[in-house]
């Protein structure tokens, strides 16, 4: 158990020691090699890199070089990433066998040129902040990710960790805390965007001796990993915010409901909780103020619906994860029937910064109705796949082209998908839509938890809708009829269209079904499940009609109706396609333009990727 004074001592001592992490001009002789130990880089051997680096340093007796595991740097496309501080040298695609060279270069005061990260335009980047990927970003929720060692509470404390909690407990009333959160304009980052301050206030006002604070870390959207990265990179930020929330609403117990598929996040949370308890930052009489708050972890078993807050509460209670009817809302009748505050990981990750920097500071970022920043997991057909945090109001174009570096292979942007299976597609004409809750809803999509998948012109929108429906069909909890059977039928109609057996009437039936499922389902999952269908129908109806009437898929993604042809004008008669075809479906003599025998073609697409002149499609 540490006193305020002792924590402050740790803070100032450690802050000095870690100055080189945030100050490129640091005069220290020390070098910190930061290696990403998030899920992405870990799966491409970053733990081995850490091991190798440490071994070499020990062998060489280089006492001024330290290797630190961190959370995600964001630019996952370049992983595994290694950053040398204080210079901010940014190495991409590092392999365990590169370690020797990296250490040598540090010792020699040079850089390993071949490992230096290249920007989109091919220029070599010397320092992290030169990368266009980071230029338009503003890191609040991800502030500590990639800066500190998430398994070391002292490093968290060094960067103002647990200062907000101290301030709240010693200088503020619960109402004052709620007022600050309300005034900041922070809205729920789980997707629906409900004003966080209001939620806190409802829970505080609810009658009841026992109240709970719950963290929804059941991130389930395919391709989304914002919450995972926060938990992996900065777990204490969530713990501290939950304790602040507990003080504000009058709860003494918190639960983090986290997916079991996030083993690294779970492990870091466990370590963080243990360390916080040891320092007395969780437990009874925190900071000697009499405030008691503790946190336990509950693992999710991989059901998407458990990200829905009431289904999540059911699951914590040990029941089948199925949504409850609302009202009553969790603020009044939540976990075990008690008033419960439930927020998402990213929402919590903003809290300490709001407390320390003030509501006005936070409210100055973003748009009129959507304040602060939003973290997105940028994926799909975009150059810089990774995790980005941008101020609300940043346009989709800025995210895709400036931060994301545009579309690879010289292809065209076709659509972006936000909000995962609950969201919708945003077509080219809406590229300049500012990303905020209202604007996205207006164009038929939603913020969602922050998955942002970019699609180029090789993607079939009917097939895309089918993909999302396939997910929903599998993840529907089966409680209410529209979602349980309706999503299945939507998927069947989409499948019919993709296989060339659909009709124009099917499109109308699909639309009618989608609209009714949206209105009649019990929970958010069912009510939003038709969004991928409705938004693609809204913007890409012509493609649906092509599938239904012409039995044609313009992208050839729908294999059953794909028709691969060779553009005679573009064909240079090289014959590469002919040699690559596994079924000898390509005909034509040497130096002749080739033709595809449609009867033989199995639509495998090998010729398309083989053709150096993009003549096949």
């Amino acid at each position: 158990m540490k006193t305020i004074q002792e924590i402050e001592e740790i803070r100032s001592k450690k802050r000095q020691e870690l100055d080189l992490r945030v100050n490129t001009n640091s005069s220290t002789r020390e070098k910190h090699i930061l290696v990403c130990h998030g899920t992405g880089c870990t799966s491409s051997k970053s733990p081995k890199i850490i091991e190798n680096l440490r071994k070499i340093i020990e062998e060489k007796g280089l006492e001024n070089i330290r290797v630190i595991q961190t959370g995600c740097f964001g630019l996952c496309a370049k992983g595994p990433i290694v950053i040398i501080r204080p210079e901010e040298t940014f190495y991409a695609h590092v392999k365990p066998e590169d370690c020797e060279e990296i250490i040598e270069s540090i010792a020699n005061g040079t850089k390993v040129e071949r490992l230096l990260c290249k920007d989109i335009d091919g220029t070599m980047v010397n320092r992290l902040d030169e990368l266009t990927f980071y230029k338009k970003q503003k890191r609040i929720a991800l502030k500590n990710c990639g800066v500190i060692d998430p398994e070391n509470i002292d490093e968290y404390i060094a960067f103002d960790g647990y200062k907000a909690l101290e301030q709240v407990l010693t200088k503020m009333t619960p109402d004052e805390v709620i007022n600050v959160v309300s005034a900041s304009g922070l809205r729920g980052r789980g997707g629906a965007g409900f004003p966080t301050g209001k939620k806190w206030s409802f829970t505080k006002m609810a009658q009841g001796e026992q109240k709970y604070v719950v963290c929804n870390a059941d991130e389930g959207d395919p391709g989304a990993f914002m919450d995972r990265s926060i938990l992996e990179g900065d777990p204490h930020a969530v713990l501290e915010a939950m304790a602040i929330a507990g003080y504000a609403v009058g709860a003494n117990q918190g639960y983090i409901y986290v997916r079991a598929e996030y083993p690294i996040a779970v492990q870091r949370l466990k370590i963080a909780i243990k360390q916080s308890r040891e320092y007395g930052l969780l437990g009874s009489n925190i900071f000697d103020t009499g405030f008691k708050f503790d946190i336990d972890i509950r693992l999710g078993a991989g059901a998407f619906v458990c990200g829905e807050e009431t289904a999540l509460l059911e699951s914590i209670e040990g029941k089948r994860g199925q949504p409850r009817q609302k009202p009553p809302f969790p603020a009044n009748e939540g976990l075990f029937g008690k008033p419960t505050l439930i927020n998402n990981v990213e929402t919590y990750a903003n809290i300490t910064k709001i407390i320390l920097n003030g509501a006005d500071w936070y409210a100055s970022i973003g748009t009129e109705t959507s304040k602060g920043t939003k973290v997105f997991a940028l994926g799909g057909n975009v150059n810089n796949v990774g995790l980005v945090e941008v101020p609300m109001g940043t346009t989709l174009r800025e995210i895709v082209y400036d931060i994301g570096g545009g579309i690879p292979n010289g292809r065209e942007f076709k659509a972006a998908q936000t909000g995962g299976p609950s969201g919708g597609c945003i077509p080219k004409e809406h590229l300049d839509t500012p990303i905020d809750y209202e604007s996205l809803a207006e164009i038929g999509s939603m913020m969602g938890s922050g998955g942002l998948i970019v699609m180029d012109d090789t993607k079939c929108m009917v097939n895309l809708a089918k993909f999302y429906l396939e997910f929903t069909v599998k993840e529907s909890c089966g409680k209410c009829t529209p979602c349980r059977i309706g999503t299945k039928r939507m998927h069947e109609i989409l499948d019919k269209l993709c296989s060339g057996k659909g009709t124009e009437e099917d499109i109308q039936k699909l639309e009618k079904l989608a609209n009714n499922i949206k209105k009649a389902s019990v929970c958010g999952l069912g009510q939003t499940a038709p969004n991928p269908v409705l938004s693609t129908l809204k913007y890409f109806r012509e493609e649906f009609r092509e599938h239904a009437i012409d039995k044609k898929c313009r992208t050839n993604e729908c294999k059953a109706i794909a028709k691969i042809t060779i553009d005679e004008e573009k064909c240079k008669s090289c014959g590469l396609c002919q040699r690559s075809c596994p079924v000898n479906a390509i005909e034509g003599e040497a130096r002749e333009k080739r033709k595809i025998n449609q009867d033989k073609c199995i639509k495998c697409g090998t010729c398309i990727s083989t053709c150096p002149f993009h003549a096949i499609g």
């Binding site: 059901a303 619906v305 089948r320 199925q322 009817q325 929903t472 069909v473 599998k474 993840e475 529907s476 909890c477 089966g478 409680k479 209410c480 009829t481 529209p482 979602c483 349980r484 059977i485 309706g486 999503t487 299945k488 039928r489 069947e492 039936k509 009618k512 079904l513 009714n516 949206k518 209105k519 009649a520 389902s521 019990v522 009510q527």
Partner: protein, 583 residues
């Protein structure tokens, strides 16, 4: 405390309603009949099926009126074109995943899904597609589960879990693969199911039903060499008429007996007489236990669902159960012994058929213990519903039938036998006899109203022959569990306990006519049927089992006295602990 009243508008009608009532309830009170499917009053109020959706001005999407409480100033629309379209789509979706073999379904004509399809004029299925495909579970002698007919309304699981607190069936799987299943998807026969059959009378479709033995019984009736004796339980007579459009709870005993005779049963007896035997034996057993020869409290054993529950859950407490067989089993044994001998009929050529309000009786009749010298007590058990079907098959215009009486020599039963069919009835009947025996005179007090009524557990303290006797009556297995846990912890204050597996007793048994959720919302079915039984008792000339001349005679001629060696041979049984899961 005065009730809080809220003002709201439903379909343009301004209405004052009690705060806490649902839109469905309030709409009903002003003559708006919102369609429902998963809703079952007091048991399953979850808003899952979405048939009862309505629109509330200012709210996004539709809400389920069966759970949405009324609020001040609410403006509700229950039947706009968009709601009707959504309901039709929902119904279409359910039908798209439901077999269309209504003609051969056990619930044809009494299916809530069929009624809705008719109401909405469903002429074709717009969203046809893949259908669920589950095997039929017909392993048990009592219940058949046809999961392909299941519409996932979860009325059965709510009944099993929340009312009976058994949870033998529950939801499993996700999305379209969701289904109602058992532990490891094993047969109901091999899991913790007690065969109470409450799930069957909760089911809106034909997904759960009794195992039928109608054809077997017809075969026996047709067979000239077989002497087919039928007996009918007390609760059957106050429900059978419902299957022919008669009012709920009307006593149709006379017509029922006439119908049974017309069907061709060789003898038509009254299980109420069997109940009188049970009282003779049970009262005697109780008095013996009270005098120190046996475990107290003694618990009745005429509800086979309860017995199966006890054997599966309280295997170490079975000495509390009365060793008496249930009335129809006793009667079956008497028919194949006393009756056979007296009338010179080969007992091996007698077929005994019991018409019961019960599902578990089918299982009970199949228990290995239920035979004497290799002769089965009861050969077939049919439910009230199965009997109604036989009557219809026999081209009998039930409502128009003349009354007739049960056959002699065992047709006459006491009023005490009649009230066996409702919770508290066995206790009241037993007390009537026990009191007279202990006081050694015929007491004037006949009615013990403290054990009547719908309460799950009823208690009373009686002063009998200077001794304080504490009794309790429990119906429904959730209440049985409370009684048993108390006994297990050695904290039970009682001397004598009656337990019935079905809430309300046999009148609400799993084999009784199935009432739609709408009917159950508006009518207290249990009370109507129970009142009818009490009225039979009230009108009876003999109201105590031991005063029934038939009983007296058979004891004199055959059984000697209650608890005799012979009585034990024919009228008593044994129990043994059974594994909860036999898998």
């Amino acid at each position: 405390m005065s009730e809080e009243i809220v003002n709201l508008t439903i379909d343009g009608i301004q209405v004052k309603a009690k705060k806490g009532d649902t839109i469905l309830q309030v709409a009903k009170s002003i003559g708006i009949d919102i369609p429902t499917l998963c809703f079952l009053k007091g048991i399953n109020e979850v808003g899952d099926c979405r048939m009862c959706i309505v629109e509330i001005e200012g709210r996004r999407g539709f809400v389920a009126s069966c759970i949405q409480k009324v609020e001040e100033g609410m403006v509700v629309h229950t039947n706009t074109p968009s709601i009707v379209e959504a309901r039709k789509v929902i119904l279409d979706l359910i039908l798209s995943n439901h077999p269309k073999d209504c003609l051969t379904c056990v619930r044809s004509g009494n299916c809530e899904l069929q009624s809705l399809a008719e109401k909405f004029n469903m002429r074709d299925i717009e969203y046809e597609g893949e259908m669920q495909n589950h095997p039929i579970d017909d392993k048990s002698p009592a219940i058949v589960r046809e999961s392909n007919k299941c519409i996932l309304c979860r009325r059965c699981t709510a009944t099993c879990k929340n009312v009976q607190e058994i949870g033998a069936i529950a939801s499993t799987g996700r999305g379209f693969e969701s289904c109602i299943s058992t532990t490891y998807n094993e047969s109901l026969n091999d899991v913790d199911c007690t065969f109470c059959g409450q799930c069957i009378i909760s089911c809106p479709t034909g997904a759960l039903h009794e195992k039928e033995y109608i054809e077997d019984v017809w075969e026996k009736i047709k067979d000239k060499d077989t002497f087919v004796v039928v007996q009918t339980a007390p609760a059957v007579r106050v429900a059978i008429g419902e299957e022919f459009g008669m009012p709920i709870g009307e006593n149709a005993k006379g017509k029922m007996v006439t119908a049974l005779k017309r069907i061709g049963f060789d003898k038509v007896f009254d299980t109420n007489t069997g109940a009188d035997f049970t009282i003779m034996e049970e009262a005697n057993e109780f008095i013996e236990r009270l005098s120190g020869k046996g475990t107290l409290p003694m618990i009745t054993s005429c509800s086979p669902g309860w017995v199966r529950f006890a054997e599966k859950n309280y295997g170490d407490q079975l000495d509390h159960l009365s060793s008496c067989k249930s009335p129809h089993q006793m009667f079956g044994a008497i028919i194949k012994s006393y009756f056979a001998e007296k009338y010179g009929i080969d007992k091996n050529k007698i077929c005994t058929v019991s018409i019961m309000p019960c599902i578990a009786k089918k299982y009970e009749a199949s228990r290995p213990e239920m035979e004497v010298d290799g002769v089965r007590d009861v050969d077939y058990v049919l439910t009230t519903r199965e009997l109604a079907k036989m009557i219809k098959q026999a081209n009998i215009d039930f409502v128009e039938l003349e009354d007739s009486n049960f056959d002699d020599p065992m047709g006459e039963a006491s009023g005490a036998g009649a009230i066996f069919g409702t919770t508290g009835g066995v206790m009241e009947a037993a007390i009537r006899t026990a009191v007279d025996t202990l006081e050694n005179k015929s007491m004037d007090k006949i009615e013990y109203k403290e054990v009547r009524g719908e309460k799950g557990i009823k208690e009373a303290c009686l002063n009998i022959a200077g001794k304080e006797i504490k009794i309790a009556v429990a119906s429904g297995l959730a209440n049985a569990r409370k009684i048993m846990d108390q006994i297990k912890e050695k904290k039970s204050p009682y001397h004598f306990v009656e337990i019935m597996a079905c809430p309300g007793g046999c009148v609400m048994g799993g084999g009784q006519p199935i009432k739609s959720a709408k009917t159950r919302m508006n009518v207290d079915v249990r009370k109507r049927r129970a009142d009818s039984l009490y009225s039979i008792d009230e009108k009876s000339t003999v109201r105590k089992s031991h005063e029934n001349p038939t009983i007296k005679k058979i004891y004199e001629e055959y059984l000697e006295k209650p608890g005799s060696h012979k009585a034990h041979k024919y009228l008593h049984t044994t129990y043994s602990p059974k594994p909860k899961y036999d898998i």
